[in-house]
Structure formats: C-alpha cells, structure tokens
C-alpha cells in the first residue's frame, strides 16, 4: 500500500465526520428495545404514516423516472437553444428552501389556483391529500434523478448507438438495447437518491399536507406534543427501515452490473 504522511491527519479529520453521522443514528437505534419497536410498528397511526411515506416517495420517483429520464437523455445528447436554462431549472429545487418550495407549489396546485382547480375537476386534490405529498417529494427530489441519469447517459459513448444503428437498430431500439442498459446503474443510483430524499422530506410536505401524516411529520408532531420519549421509537423505526431499503437497493444495483 502507498504510504503517505498526510493519510493519518486526514483520517483523523474524516473520522470526526463519520462519528458525527454514525453515533447519533446508533444511539437512537440502541435506545429503543426491540419489543418497544414492535409495539410502535403495531400502532395503526405509525404503520400508516410509514406506508404512506414509502408509497408517496415511490410514486414521486416513478413520475420523475417517466418524465425525467427522457429529459436527461436530451440533456446528455442534444444541443438545443435554452439548454443552459433547462439545466438550471432542473437544479433549482436543490437550492430552494423546502418550506418555500411548499409555498410555491401551493400557489399553483392550491384550491384557488387554476391548475389546482383543473385537477380538482378530475377529482385530484393536492392540499391535505396524498397527491400533495407526492408533488412535494417530486419537486424536492427530481434534480437528483435527472442529474444522475444525465451523467449516466453522458458516460455512454454515442458511437455505441451509431454502431447499433448501422447494424439495423431504430433509434428507439438503440436506446433500449444499448444506451439504457449501460446508463442503468447511474439511473438506479439517481432513483435511490431521489427516493431517499422523498422519505426524509418534511418542509415542503408539511405545507401542502400536514394530514395525511408522513413519518417525518408524525415524528415532529409526537415530539412537539408529547416529547422525546414518544418521538424516539418512531424515529428509530424509520431510520432502520430506511437503512434496510437503502442496503437492498445498493445490493440490487451491484447485481445488475454482474
């Protein structure tokens, strides 16, 4: 192994950061007995909040996948006027404070707004309803997916598509048989990032839909109303499930390469 005098001090500095993340998580997990966790999971309110959080985030990610992957491909391959602007717009949700994003969405999808009314005519409500949670998660997470997919497509040599075309592939076939499989790992990592982002979303969701309650809102409410002891089992549960799902998706991603 290469020896370098810098390694030791750098490792010590890094260790502080790693401790800073791992220790609070570990403390939270170990502070609750398995029996208490099981009991918490049995509470209908908790189970519902967790299911809603995961489901809504999955729905938001799926939406972003369908709408965002084609956009990512365009950003990677095509030159068009206004491309820099489009790229900037994709990045904006990362820098906007999430509560502000919630307000902004309310301005468009609220009951008084035109778009909100149009959807209401179709029977879709956003305020204090699951669709509101989904669009809040979509807004705050789409940058991760689109950017990861764009970088993935960019790393695929366009000449691979060229060769596929000369061998008889339509652009559609070349995309699905060459480009997409090769960019898939990047897209999957974008999916994981966005989905995880959705699970943890509080600010934008709480403005659009305090109810029905997603897990982060439930934790906040229990903490506010009853204190740390009541909030902690739910927090532990959410952390554990998130970790498990995260590990699983990482494992799936690795498998896809082999």
């Amino acid at each position: 192994m290469m020896r370098n005098r810098l390694f030791l001090p750098f490792a010590l500095l890094g260790a502080v950061l790693i401790w800073f993340v791992a220790w609070p998580l570990l403390r939270t997990i170990t502070a609750v007995t398995p029996a208490a966790l099981w009991h918490t999971l049995g509470e209908p309110e908790v189970a519902h909040a967790i299911g809603l959080t995961f489901g809504a985030s999955a729905a938001a990610t799926l939406l972003a996948l369908v709408l965002g992957v084609p956009l990512a491909y365009l950003l990677a391959r095509a030159a068009f006027p206004g491309k820099a602007l489009v790229e900037a717009i994709v990045d904006i949700p990362v820098v906007v404070p999430h509560s502000a994003a919630g307000i902004a969405l309310l301005m468009v999808f609220g009951r008084q707004a035109a778009v909100g009314k149009a959807f209401a005519a179709l029977g879709i409500r956003f305020v204090s309803a699951t669709p509101g949670i989904v669009i809040a998660m979509l807004f705050v997470g789409l940058s991760f997916l689109v950017n990861a997919a764009r970088d993935g497509f960019r790393s695929v040599d366009p000449r691979l598509e060229h060769v596929a075309r000369t061998l008889g592939a339509s652009p559609w076939q070349a995309f699905w048989q060459v480009t997409f499989p090769l960019a898939w790992r990047s897209i999957l990592s974008g999916v994981i990032m966005m989905w995880a982002r959705g699970l943890s979303e509080f600010g934008a969701v709480v403005i659009l839909a305090y109810h029905p309650m997603v897990a982060p809102v439930l934790i906040f409410e229990r903490f506010e109303s009853y204190g740390l002891d009541y909030a902690r089992p739910v927090a532990t549960l959410v952390i554990l499930i998130s970790l498990l799902v995260f590990l699983f998706l990482r494992w799936v991603g690795r498998d896809a390469e082999a």
Binding site: T166, W172, Q173
Partner: protein, 376 residues
C-alpha cells in the same frame, strides 16, 4: 457468409460541415466488390465523412447512391452499410458472441420486440449460438472468445469482433475507419492480412479510411487521396505514387520507389520479387501479389559495377537530376526486356554527385541491399 447483393456506392457533390471540418464538393465512386481506400492525413475529417455515408450525419448538400438508389435521406438502419471504428466500440455489456449476434437479432425481431426492445434480450442470447454467428467468429479466428466480455480482450481481438459484428449482417458496403491504427505493429500486420483475405473471400465492397500509405497500398484496388475535405487524386496505388497529380499528393506519399511485384520464396530467409522482367531480392518471407518499396536514401550509385554485398545491382541510365534541399534525387532507368524501363530514384548528397560527375543519359550502376527492400 456469402457476398451480399450489390455494393456500388456513388457520392455526388457531397457538402457537409461539422465543427471545424468541412467538405466543399466531394464526388466519389466505389465499384461493387472494390476495396477502396481513402488516404489522408490524420484529422482531415475522414471519420465524419464515413459517418455521413453511413447516415449518421445529414449532409448539407449532394446525394448518396447505393446500387442506383438514392439513399441520401435514408436512416442508417435501412442503408445496409456496415461501420467499424478505429477503437472498436464494442457493446461492453454483451459477450463477444452477443456482440456479433446483435445485428441478426434486430433483423429477426418481432413487432413486439421492436416496440418493446427490452424483450429482445432472450433472442440475442439464443442467436449468439446460431450458425451464422459461429461462422463469422470462425472467419475472424475468434471462435474461442465467444463467451468472453470485450473488456477482457486485446486490441487485435476486439477489432476482430468488431469486424465479425459488421460482416455477419452482410452489409452491401463496409466502412472501415482507421481499423488498424490503434494496434501495435505486429497485430496491425496480421489483421491487415486478415482484411485482405476476408475481402477476397467475400468480395464485400469496402471503403477504408487511413493515414498510413503502406496500409493503403497493401489493401487497395483504388486509392483516393483526400486533403482538407477535397479529393486530390483517385487512382490505382501505382498511379498515385508514380504520377502524383498535385504537390500535396507528392508531398504526402513521399518520394519512394514503389512497384507491384510477384513474390516467391527463395529459401534462406530470402524472397524473390519479379518486377516485370527484373528480379529483386528481398529479405524476409512473402508470397503472391505484393508491393515493394525502396527508400531513395538506400540506393547506392556508382560509375562502374563493383563487387559488394549488395544483392540488387542494376545497370541503367540517368534520366533526371533534381536537387532538393540537402540531397539530390537522381532518376535511373533500368531497361527491361519487352517492357518500359524501371525508374529507380536514388538520393545522394551534392558532393557525391560531384565526385561521380553524373549527367543525364550517363550510364550508371544502382544497387541496394536485400534488407532495404520493403515488402507489403
């Protein structure tokens, strides 16, 4: 694999612009079954030109004809024109056999598989075992690599896979973009031989782009020298080297003594080359139709024949004396029975010319070592 139907390519007043590269007005005709080489300096935009012929770029003007059909507006997948890139561009997520089967799988795809291409994976796996794929792999001597992934192959092996992948769908024209340039000299020579063998076996029309003059001469039926998006000269290898049409061509191909010859082994690491009545001795092994070249600097001139280790000594007459820089180029015509004399160009220094006191039409002896004869 058999020869596909047709393969006559005509490029008519092609105009295109892509970044810094532009073609003003290029016309070219490649006959059915011909091995045509576009020879030009690196970075002359030859790749863009080939990609345009394949349908990957839209030209600004002009027409492309394939077997009498106007294919200018046709998408690449409907042209039947194969493409091999310099750096192979194999599908990294597929095995060698699957790479080769790729085009066949597309041809056999059902309507469902065309609409939902991710369903085609199983067909590709099955076709990787098909006879046509095995034949293509065998043709390129890579049958033993069928189940390997491209990342585990050497450059030469990858280029063979790329060739097999392009050939298995029987393209009417095969475009080769500097196919040998990324290889080390030994592999390059081996694969060059393969290209020649395959072309003889299949007589697929080939349009091959290179900056390497030796490669061009070794493979081409016809050569077009391109420069700055224009064609400087089209002709047989001999014509281009013997009678360069423009200063650029003369400069680019250099002054060389280049001749077509019939080679036969003469034992002891020596090859006998018949050049229309004359016999030239070369070191190494060669057989059949070849070209030979001798650098002017390697030719020794003397007033009288003298005993030496030179294996090639010819009596001739000086026909031209041309000072160029530090050297003087002396053309010596060696008479041949029943044929035009063979012109040899020797480069000697000005003082050497003075010592020999050579003048046009003087008799002179020209000699060179067997190891100075370059056969390809």
């Amino acid at each position: 694999m058999q020869k596909p139907e047709g393969g006559h390519l005509r490029i008519e007043h092609l105009r295109l612009r892509l970044g810094a590269f532009q073609v003003a007005d290029l016309s070219l005709e490649v006959e059915d079954g011909q091995y045509f080489v576009l020879l030009g300096p690196t970075g002359a935009g030859k790749t863009v030109l080939l990609e345009t012929i394949a349908g990957l770029h839209r030209p600004e003007g002009g027409r492309l004809w394939l077997d009498g059909e106007d294919i200018t507006a046709r998408p690449p997948e409907q042209r039947g024109i194969g493409f091999v890139y310099q750096d192979y561009v194999l599908f990294p997520h597929r095995t060698v056999a699957e790479n080769v089967a790729f085009g066949l799988a597309l041809r056999q795809a059902t309507a469902w598989e065309r609409a939902l291409p991710w369903l085609a994976r199983r067909r590709l796996r099955r076709l990787a075992r098909a006879q046509a794929v095995t034949d293509a792999l065998d043709l390129l001597h890579i049958g033993h690599l069928a189940d390997r992934h491209p990342r585990h192959l050497s450059g030469g092996e990858r280029q063979r896979v790329a060739l097999a992948r392009a050939l298995v769908v029987q393209p009417r024209v095969l475009l080769l973009d500097e196919p040998l340039s990324a290889l080390d000299p030994q592999r390059r020579e081996a694969l060059r031989g393969e290209l020649r063998r395959i072309h003889r076996a299949l007589s697929t029309t080939v349009l091959h782009v290179t900056h390497d003059f030796e490669e061009a001469v070794a493979l081409a039926d016809r050569i077009a020298v391109v420069h700055a998006g224009r064609i400087e000269q089209v002709g047989t290898p001999e014509a281009i080297f013997r009678r360069p049409a423009t200063p650029f061509v003369a400069e680019f191909v250099g002054v060389r003594n280049l001749f077509a010859a019939q080679a036969s082994p003469a034992g002891k690491g020596i090859t006998r080359l018949a050049v229309g009545g004359l016999t030239i001795i070369a070191a190494g092994h060669a057989k059949g139709k070849v070209h030979l070249a001798v650098r002017p600097e390697d030719i020794v001139l003397s007033r009288h024949p003298q005993e030496s280790s030179l294996r090639n000594v010819f009596q001739g007459r000086v026909t031209a004396i041309e000072p160029r820089g530090a050297l003087v180029y002396v053309t010596v015509e060696v008479p041949r029975s029943g044929e035009k004399p063979l012109p040899l160009v020797a480069a000697i220094t000005a003082p050497a010319l003075e010592t020999l006191a050579l003048r046009p039409s003087d008799p002179v002896t020209a000699g060179f070592k067997a190891s100075a004869v370059h056969v390809f």
